[in-house]
């Protein structure tokens, strides 16, 4: 029987990132069977290096399929104490070392880099005033981010942040999300 092929590969550090991003994109029109999660086996706290090291290979695989499929590679990694730009530079560096050209302009590759981490975004989406340096509480269960997914979707649809300003890393990620959402 026919089942659709995967269109969005999510390369990420942990299941919390995957659940939040996938649910958000499902609300924006993508179907559950379009996703394939590639999650660091190390899990929370030590996944950044794993994601970075696996990126060039996934990028090569992604490009090898570009002619046949409408596929996207979405990379999610926490900025932690770095800036979003510094994180992107670290991905560019690992590509350079692997002799793989980094993301080209308008290429179907998306970076989602929460700073400090995804809990910063969750706190903001709950209505708290946040900064990107402090740490905020984690959900007990990854599935508990439903409310935050709905809030982000609403803000994207209205194109209005509340409260203002949003965390800069979230505003940056939304520009990326716009490219991949259907």
């Amino acid at each position: 029987m026919s089942a659709g092929s995967v269109e969005v590969v999510i390369l990420c550090e942990d299941r919390q990132q995957e659940v939040f991003i996938r649910r958000f994109l499902q609300r924006r029109g993508r179907e559950r069977d379009q996703f394939r999660a590639v999650i660091s086996p190390a899990g929370r706290g030590s996944g950044e290096q794993w994601v970075r090291e696996h990126f060039p290979q996934e990028l090569k695989v992604h490009r090898s399929q570009r002619a046949q499929r409408n596929n996207w590679l979405l990379v999610a990694t926490d900025a932690d104490a770095r800036t979003v730009q510094e994180r992107l530079q670290s991905f560019a560096k690992v590509c350079q070392d692997a002799n793989v050209p980094f993301r080209e302009e308008n290429e179907e590759v998306v970076f989602v880099v929460p700073r400090r981490n995804i809990e910063t975004w969750f706190a903001y989406l709950r209505g708290e005033t946040v900064n990107e340096s402090d740490t905020y509480r984690r959900h007990d269960c990854e599935n508990d981010c439903r409310h935050e997914v709905v809030r982000l979707d609403e803000m994207c649809r209205r194109q209005r942040w509340e409260p203002v300003p949003p965390p800069p890393s979230l505003a940056t990620a939304c520009n990326e999300f716009r490219r991949i959402a259907q």
Binding site: S2, A3, V6, R36, V61, R69
Partner: protein, 376 residues
């Protein structure tokens, strides 16, 4: 060893041809016809070697639902090695069966049935008349025969029909099973020389092994000692008129007599492991062909590859042929590239199979490629 199977008008198999090697992995999404292939072989086996009537082995409900033709066709090519006990060399058999259904009247009849060896006819039935040929290929008797059963299946072994009856024996040597541990009972009322489709009668078959292939027991136990921590042996204990299978495990300190557990007291995974290793080592010199539907079910990740390598090592060296259906990444990554048969099917159209995927992706394992649906 089954070399080729052709099926027309059986569920999703329409004008369908499958060629097989010594080791094969049938791959594909659910509903693409993999298990249906096993069902066809099982029906042919029941019909030719199990005395099943045509409508029992091939009920009209199995006609392809979107077709109107009442005719089903089956062709089977079987390659067999030398058989010293009947002084016959290697041979290639061709078997074909055409069935005509009358679904409204719930009737079916054999329109034709033919068996040949190395291209020479041994038996031919058509329009109610059977023609038998002797082993020296001279024509034997011609006689009216029943439309509802296999003419190849009913002939008694005689000195001049060894070639024909050998085909039937080869069909009997084919084991086509899925493993359903919840349905396996501890108790055996009598020995069973063959396994039921879901291995419900595993203990009765094991009882048969223990009587007819006593040497194999030691081989099975030796393997299981590596697989099941503390495993010692299995025995069949009398319980009234029946026998109950007990599995003995050593005590943790190794002292005293092993502790017997009822087979049904074991976990599903433990039962499956005992069954899987019994399949491999119980008849390993008998030249059996094994058709196993998802043998990885219930088995732990660590346990899959050792069993798989045992199976592939035995293929051609005791086990004539291995045909697996699996969705498990361990099995897919091990066998897909060398032995994959890739099934495909869109809704309400026939199944198709090829020996290569439509696409491979450099940098991804076969299982990961399939998980992304990128093999299409």
């Amino acid at each position: 060893m089954v070399k080729r199977l052709y099926v027309d008008n059986f569920r999703c198999l329409v004008n369908f041809e499958l060629k097989l090697d010594r080791v094969n992995l049938l791959l594909g999404l659910n509903g693409t016809g993999k298990t249906t292939v096993f069902d066809v072989l099982h029906s042919l086996q029941e019909f030719v070697a199990g005395n099943a009537k045509v409508l029992t082995a091939f009920p009209s409900a199995d006609l392809t639902s979107w077709q109107t033709s009442p005719t089903q066709r089956f062709e089977l090519e079987l390659e067999v090695g030398p058989a010293s006990e009947v002084k016959l060399g290697p041979a290639s058999y061709g078997y074909s069966l055409v069935i005509e259904h009358d679904a409204e009247r719930r009737k079916a009849k054999v329109k034709s049935e033919t068996l040949s060896m190395d291209g020479k006819t041994l038996f031919h039935f058509q329009e109610g008349t059977a023609q038998l040929y002797h082993d020296d290929l001279t024509p034997g008797p011609q006689y009216p025969f029943d439309w509802t059963q296999s003419g190849v299946g009913v002939l008694q072994p005689r000195p001049d029909n060894k070639k024909l009856t050998r085909f039937r024996k080869e069909m009997q040597r084919t084991i086509i099973v899925g493993l359903q541990p919840a349905l396996m009972t501890s108790e055996s009322r009598e020995e069973a020389a063959s396994l039921s489709r879901n291995m419900e009668n595993f203990v009765s078959w094991f009882r048969y092994l223990s009587q007819e292939h006593t040497g194999a027991m030691l081989a099975i136990f030796a393997e299981l000692k590596h697989v099941l921590p503390g495993f010692s042996a299995c025995n069949l204990k009398e319980a009234g008129e029946a026998r109950v299978m007990k599995v003995l495990f050593e005590r943790p300190d190794g002292s005293g007599r092993p502790i017997p557990y009822d087979f049904n007291a074991l976990s599903h995974g433990q039962r499956v492991l005992i069954a899987l290793y019994s399949l491999l080592f119980g008849l390993k010199d008998e030249g059996i062909s094994l058709f196993l539907d998802e043998p990885d079910n219930f088995v732990a990740l660590r346990e899959i590859q050792p069993w798989l390598t045992a199976l592939t090592d035995l293929a051609g060296e005791g086990i004539e042929q291995a045909v697996l259906i699996s969705h498990h990444p361990e099995i897919i990554n091990y066998l897909a590239a060398s032995s994959g048969r890739w099934f495909e099917r869109e809704s309400n159209v026939p199944a198709r199979v090829s020996d290569k995927p439509n696409a491979t992706v450099e940098g991804l394992t076969p299982a990961e490629t399939i998980a992304r649906g990128w093999e299409k």
